[in-house]
């Protein structure tokens, strides 16, 4: 079917932590084809805010035809989205990007901050044995929803939730092992995971973030550095929106 721009009905919206919102929308045409790790673009209803906001999919309910996103208020656009209630609609475009490749290997799922939500749908779909590592600043969210799908380990910057430190500290402290890493979170976290994975010879799929404009691969705004010359760009740049957002650790320079 391909990418679709549509008006989606909001089914519910809740603030699940400070400035972090969970929104469920009716979008059967997108839900039917979306996979974990993909994202959608959300458009502001205010004409002075032109660029879509890319937000990753937290849950995909193909039977109900719904999508769930969990996002943090980062500016005026996401602030506007957070005010919407179940009698509103929102314009979206999706599904965008390439999701995670599901491997039948002992998995470590790692989410940091607002990189946690996309790991939920992946956790639901991966049937293998899995450890789930969630890193928080100082406020916990979404973690209990992961409980049914694997052993959940936590870390936080101030130590009030799980291990004090980063997700890497949690991995070391708990001696978490696996042969496939799936990760989404801030760049410093991904960089630490990348070097850990390369050092230990573990395959790792990293979901990157970059400021975007078109969301479909045309404008070349959201590039990341690639190790090798990329076939499309003919330089060492890959498009996060189109070639990613998920890349193998050895493909990219962070």
């Amino acid at each position: 079917m391909g990418k679709i721009k549509m008006e989606a009905k909001i089914i519910r919206q809740d603030e699940i932590a400070t400035d972090i919102y969970s929104m469920v929308i009716q979008a059967p045409e997108i839900a039917s084809q979306a996979v974990p790790g993909q994202f959608i673009d959300l458009y502001s209803a205010d004409g002075s805010k032109l660029l879509p906001r890319p937000i990753s999919l937290c849950e995909i309910d193909r039977a109900a035809g719904t999508l769930r996103i969990v996002y943090r208020i980062a500016g005026k656009g996401t602030k506007e989205f957070s005010m919407l209630t179940s009698d509103h609609t929102i314009t979206i475009l999706g599904p965008l990007g390439n999701g995670f490749t599901k491997k039948d290997k002992k998995a470590i799922l790692i989410g940091g901050g607002i990189g946690i939500p996309p790991m939920l749908q992946l956790a639901k779909e991966l049937t293998c044995e899995k450890s789930i590592v969630l890193g928080f600043r100082d406020e916990e969210f979404l973690s209990e929803e992961f409980e049914p799908y694997g052993t959940v380990y936590k870390s936080s910057d101030n130590g009030t939730i799980g291990v004090k430190g980063t997700v890497m500290d949690a991995i070391r402290e708990y001696g978490i092992e696996g042969t496939e890493i799936y990760a989404c979170g801030p760049t410093p976290m991904l960089r630490a995971i990348q070097s850990y994975a390369l050092e230990h010879g573990i395959e790792a799929q990293l979901s990157l973030e970059e400021r975007m404009a078109c969301g479909v691969g045309a404008c070349l705004a959201c590039v990341c550095k690639s190790k090798e010359i990329d076939d499309h760009s003919q330089v060492k740049n890959k498009r996060v929106c189109k070639d990613g957002p998920v890349f193998y650790a050895e493909e990219v320079e962070l």
Binding site: G2, K3, K5, Y43, G47, S48, K49, L50, L51, P52, G77, L93, E210, R211, M212, A213, C214, G215, V216, G217, A218, C219, L220, A221, C222, V223, C224, H232, S233, Q234, V235, K236, N237, K242
Partner: protein
């Protein structure tokens, strides 16, 4: 009802094309719009060799617009000729290739390579505000613009369209220099140089520090410049700058543009081009306009 317009002897089935850099070579938008419906596809700028572009972040949103400093990342003419031109050749639309370079030789290299390709028009980017050398250096000095236009015109097999920068004191001086040197048409405007500061990070919002502002916030400036240039030279104009909808496109035409390029609007609405084409037809129908050409520069 006639919607056909002519740019330097090349007939477009309607006046709508896209602004270079906002649409790739059309591949990424092929799944949203039927490219066969467009008057022309204007490609992202292509140089003689691949360019890596600027560091990220490359874009930021501004009130009623955005700014970009992509830095003309492009795969180089070899890949472009092998991949992009054959793709566009399959479509029933005209092909305008945007050419960029850092030196006169770079531009000539690309223009000569395109000589035997099935390309209809060459748009020469001498106005990109985001690359240090070349680009804008040719677009802000009438003498430099005259010289490069003359050099390119001598080598080009297709008609050339010099793309003008708005970052000048008097754009008509630049238009006249391009006309005197033999340019066949003009494109205007490129983006306006701007700056945005992220007060949370206390840093520039775009890594390049300055970036080109586009979108509806700059549309009135673009309309004014199209009007000024249309009244200063005889060349056909492709008008661009913040065209979001049918009304904006018709303003450009009435100000003197023969064709109109849709740019930033593609990011806001991937269907913008075809919606505008339909909207122009509806306007013509509703207002008894038999020929779009009668609207070009009709407001004096």
């Amino acid at each position: 009802m006639n919607t056909k317009v002519s740019i330097a002897g090349v007939e477009l089935k309607n006046p709508i094309t896209v602004a270079s850099g906002t649409f790739g070579s059309g591949m990424e938008y092929d799944e949203f719009v039927d490219l066969n419906l467009l008057g022309a596809v204007t490609t992202k700028g292509v140089a003689n060799v691949p360019w890596p572009g600027n560091p990220t972040p490359r874009v930021a949103e501004t009130y009623g617009g955005m700014m970009n400093a992509i830095g003309l990342q492009n795969p180089g003419i070899d890949t472009f000729v092998k991949r992009d031109i054959p793709f566009l050749k399959e479509k029933d639309t005209k092909i305008i290739v945007n050419v960029c370079g850092k030196s006169t030789e770079d531009y000539l290299d690309v223009v000569e390579r395109l000589g035997d390709e099935p390309v209809d028009l060459l748009e020469i980017n001498v106005s990109c505000p985001n690359v240090k050398e070349g680009g804008i250096a040719f677009g802000q000095d009438p003498k430099a613009l005259y010289d490069i236009t003359k050099a390119i015109k001598a080598k080009a097999k297709q008609p050339i369209i010099m793309k003008l920068s708005p970052n000048v004191t008097d754009i008509t001086e630049m238009a006249k220099a391009a006309e005197a040197a033999g340019s066949d048409a003009l494109s205007l405007i490129n983006t306006l140089t701007g700056m945005k500061i992220d007060i949370k990070r206390r840093a520039f919002a775009v890594a390049n520090k300055t970036a080109g502002v586009s979108g509806p916030a700059i549309h009135p400036i673009a309309v004014r410049m199209v009007y000024q240039v249309a009244n200063a030279v005889k060349l056909p104009i492709i008008g661009m700058g913040g065209v979001m909808n049918t009304e904006d496109a018709l303003e450009m035409i009435m100000a003197g543009a023969t064709a109109v390029a849709v740019g930033t609007a593609n990011f806001h609405n991937p269907y913008a081009t075809v919606e505008i084409i339909k909207g122009i037809e509806e306007y013509m129908q509703a207002n008894g306009v038999d020929d779009i050409n009668t609207l070009i520069g009709c407001v004096k």
